[in-house]
Structure formats: C-alpha cells, structure tokens
Amino acid sequence: MKLTDLAAAADTTPRTIRYYIAQGLLPPPAGAGPTANYTDEHLRCLALIRQLQAAHLPLAEIRSRIEAGGGPAPPVVAAPSAGDSALDYLNAVLPNLNSPIQSPRAAPPAPPLPAAQQRRSTWERHCFGADVELHIRRPLSREDARRVDALLDEARRLFVKESP
C-alpha cells in the first residue's frame, strides 16, 4: 500500500510515519519514491508504537523494545539483495578500479516486465529546432541506450544550448 493508505489505515499522518522511519522505529518501505510500498506488518508495528506510547514510554524505550522483539514481529519489508547495498557495490569495485563497471553488482537487475509491457514500445520525439527532430523508439538495449544518450547529448550541445 502507499504511504497515504498506510496513514489512513493507521489513523495517523504521513508526516508521523516519516518521523518514525527517520527515528528507526519503523523500517523503510520496500522500494523508494514512486515505488515505495508498505505492508500490513507496518500497520501492526504502528499499532504497537501507539500501544507503547499510550503507556507513556519515551521513543528511545519504544525503539529498544521493538528492537528487542518485545512486541509483534517487526515489519517484514523486501530488503535489498546483497548486491544492492553500497558496501557490496564498493567491495566489488574497489579492488578492480581499472575495469569498466560491468560487474553484476554494478547495478541491480531490472525486474522483468509484464508480458504486455514487453511488447509495448514508445516513440520519443526530441525537437532541436523548427526543422530538426530525432525520433527514438524505446525500450532499447542497454548498449543502444548508451549510444542514443550520447547522440542526444551531442545534439543538445549542437542545437539546444543555442536556443532558449
């Protein structure tokens, strides 16, 4: 569920939930930004926090009780895989700095698209002036995407920066 849905279900505000996450009382959601997803376990954890707050416990005490498992099991969220952490990334990159970053740990694999989306493609239209356009159909292979990005950068350099 979304942050606003969780807040409504728990009868609290998104702001309070953000504060609990920042304070380590509540785990962050699975995903981030537009893909942030909260589960029923977050809801249960919020209920526990409220229960402990009703007993006039300070937040530090509530945090330690939650960490000690003094209530319901902590919310289960999809933790990043080992290769997704900054530390794993750096441990993979640092010993081999002269290599291009094509290690499997260099970037998390994109989740497979639903079959319907796999068949879909979208044309992008880039206008560089009244008489110059580039049309690109996406998705592209990673290699082609890199080439196209370079092409667009060059085109912007040539055309766009001269035209407010």
């Binding site: 785990p27 942030a36 900054a86 750096l90 990159v93 640092l94 920066k161 035209s163």
Partner: protein, 420 residues
C-alpha cells in the same frame, strides 16, 4: 507541508501541430521542526594529499575538515581518508563523540602532501567507510576535497560519474570541493551531479569556512531524501529538464531525480515539454507529483493543461513574463557553462558564437523586460570576453556561478531557502 507550483509560459498550442512549451516548477520543501528531528549524519572527509596540494591547499583541506568536525554531534558518524598515489584511512568510520573527534583532529593535522592523484581510489574508499556503517534514517555523504585532476588509477569521467550515480542510488551521496585553480571542474561537477551532492569552488582561505558551513547546513537540514518528481506525459508528448537532472521513462511516467532537499529549500526548475496536437478545442494535461523515499508527498501534486486552438489564437496568446525570465536565465546559465568549456579548449570563436546566439534568441521574446534586456547585454559582453583566453580564476568563477544557477542554487552552489 511540501509545496509544488507549476506554471507554463503559454497555455495554448496549435491544434494540429502541437508545440513546445516551458513549465516553471517551484518546489518548497517543508520545514525541519526542532533539532530532535534532524537525521544523524554519516560522513567521510576525503582529502587529496597529492604533491600539488602542498602549502596552503592542504592546509585549506585540513582546515575544512576540522571545521566540519566541530559541527558534528554524538549521534553522527565520520571517517577521514587521504589519498595521493595510495590511499590511507586516517580515521575509520567512528561515532562523532567529543573524544574521537579530538583524536581525529590530531590525525588530520598530520596529513602531508606528496605523490600523484588516484582520485577514484581515495573517493571510493571514503564512500566505503560511510557504507560500512550505513543505517536507515542517516544522511550519508562523502565530501571530496581536491585541487587536481584524476591522473592515476581510474580516470575516465564516465566511469567515475557512473560510480557516483550507483552509490547515490544505494544511499551514499558525494559533494566535491575544488581547491585552487588547477582542478577539473567539469569532472567534479559531474561527480556531484550524479552523486546527488554539490560542487563547490574554494578559491582561498576566506572561502572555506563559509562553504563548509553551507554544505553542512544543507546536509544537516535534509528533510526529503531521494526526492523524485514524476511527470505523467500525454501520449506522444515529451519532456526535458533544462539542467543537469536526468529523466527515466516508464511508459507515460518520466521520473526526474532531484536528490535530497533541505528544510524550507526552494528549488525552481524549468521543463521543456512537447505538447502533441489533437482535436480543436481539446485539452491535454501533464501530471506532476513529488515523492521522497517513503512515498508520495502531501502537497506535492499539480497539473498543467494546454488547450489546442487555431493558429490565430495560438499566436495571439499572452506569455507569462516570469516564466520567460526564468527560462531565459536557465538557458543563459547553460550556455555560459558550455562557453567556459569551449574557451578552455581553445574554441574561442565557438564560445563567442554560442553566447551571441543565446542572446539573439532571448531578444526575440524579451520585449522591454529590464531583467532580460540586462541579461542580453551581459551575454554580449561575455561573448566578447570569450573571444580570447580567459584567466583560470575567471573561468572557475564563471563556471561555478553558471553551473549553480542552472541547478537552481545560489552563486556558490548552496540551496536557496524560503527565508533567504
């Protein structure tokens, strides 16, 4: 509460051809309420100690680090790494207790300059120190102080920028401080842009205290982490950000990664959109919504609609002068940064031509707007200046100013706040 306001320069497009329009966005981050809400910081200070940093420069880097240490509290963590041809972890990631900060001050004072510049190894080792103790809720950032250019180990700008982006996506941001006049400002700007931090220019000892303060203020006051603007574009429409922000497309949604926003930070940015044609009199809408790591933000939604009309109505429509002004300023900033790059490469004619061309374009819609008239005059004067080699210090200042303006920050690269 977060505020998102959106205004187009014009609200009508030609019904058959569609048209390109600009949208001004103003994002206001909420206020940090009370010191208790500040997130703990997890920082690494990475100091270039190559031979060229000898004398005043290494003293500046040491001084900046010591200055920053004084701003930390017990709930923060910090590490100190120095590099030349090799890397030294001078202080491993540690809690910022008074005692440990005292020990660190002594270690930092002993860092001496010699050798070549393996920027990548030093910087990434600093990031690893941060990553080793990374926890949810922290504001994690590596501060890189250097006077030079990467000349040993991994030196490819694309690869270094890719590392910065990958680390940012994994929660570790990077800010850069160029010291003196010899650093590669293009490289440091790319690392900071991709790393979700700031690029700053420390010209002299008079600067470093103020700039380090500004950087830490931005870092200390972060209220929205990993902010993303999602732009939902009509079918056959497109969108581009005028600035360094990259867009990632998923179907009709285009995600613009804005990084961390500080308390009451006001960020203005310009989108250039292509509005597709359609039935006469119909409307088409671009949706805008803001997210941070935790999800959609209250108050962070807006829409901008365009109406499709006949040619006469399209031509006669009024323009929003404030939006025009911001659009012109951002295009001018982008051109100025590019002109500095061309001038440095010896393409004086190219730099001059580019600045005159942008002045010509702005003149077409400036009318009698005094700000735009003044901007045009300034661009023409700068075009003349770029017709010959610029001094290093002038290049650096011009680059810093235009790069910062392009990113919606003040001339020194610091976030603008509502109270500023």
């Amino acid at each position: 509460m977060t505020v998102l306001q959106a205004h187009p320069d014009r609200a009508v497009v030609h019904h058959h051809h569609g048209g390109t329009r600009h949208i001004r966005l103003r994002i206001q981050a909420p206020a940090l309420e009370g010191a208790r809400l500040r997130s703990p910081m997890n920082l690494a200070f990475v100091l270039d100690r190559s031979g060229s940093m000898g004398g005043e420069r290494i003293a500046l880097a040491r001084g900046a680090t010591l200055e920053a240490l004084d701003r930390l509290t017990d709930t923060d963590r910090f590490a100190v790494v120095s590099y030349s041809g090799s890397v030294t972890v001078d202080v491993p990631s540690s809690p910022a207790s008074l005692a440990l900060r005292g020990q660190a001050r002594a270690r930092v004072g002993q860092i001496q300059a010699d050798g070549s510049t393996d920027l990548a190894a030093g910087w990434l080792t600093g990031c690893r120190e941060v990553a080793q103790s990374l926890e949810p809720g922290q504001v994690a950032r590596c501060l890189l102080f250097t006077d030079g250019q990467a000349n040993q180990g991994e030196t490819r700008p694309d690869v270094l920028a890719a590392h910065a982006a990958a680390l940012r996506a994994r929660g570790v941001a990077t800010s850069t401080f160029g010291i003196g006049l010899g650093f590669d400002e293009v490289l440091l700007q790319r690392i900071a842009d991709q790393g979700g931090g700031n690029a700053r220019f420390i010209e002299s000892s008079a600067d470093f205290r103020r700039l380090v303060d500004a950087e830490l203020r931005d870092t200390l006051d972060v209220v929205l982490k990993g902010t993303v603007l999602r732009i939902t574009v009509p079918i056959e429409g497109t969108v581009e950000a005028i600035g360094p922000w990259s867009l990632r497309q998923q179907g009709r949604d285009w995600d613009l990664s804005l990084g961390d926003l500080s308390s009451e930070e006001t960020l203005e940015l310009v989108l250039r959109v292509f509005v597709p044609g359609g039935a006469l009199g119909s409307e088409t809408t671009f949706g805008l919504s803001l997210f941070d790591q935790t999800g959609e933000l209250e108050g962070g939604a807006a829409t901008v609609s365009f109406r499709r009309e006949v040619h006469a109505v399209n031509i006669a429509q009024p323009r929003d002068r404030e939006v025009d002004q911001l659009v012109a300023e951002r295009h001018a900033a982008r051109t100025r940064a590019e002109a500095v790059r061309l001038n440095r490469q010896g393409d004086f004619a190219g730099a001059e031509r580019m600045l005159n061309a942008v002045a010509d374009r702005i003149a077409r819609y400036a009318g009698d707007n005094p700000v735009l008239v003044s901007l045009i005059e300034a661009l023409r004067a700068e075009a003349t200046e770029h017709a010959r080699p610029m001094t290093e210090v002038r290049s650096k200042r011009q680059w810093q100013k235009s790069s910062s303006e392009l990113r919606g920050k003040d001339a020194e690269g610091t976030s603008k706040r509502r109270r500023d």
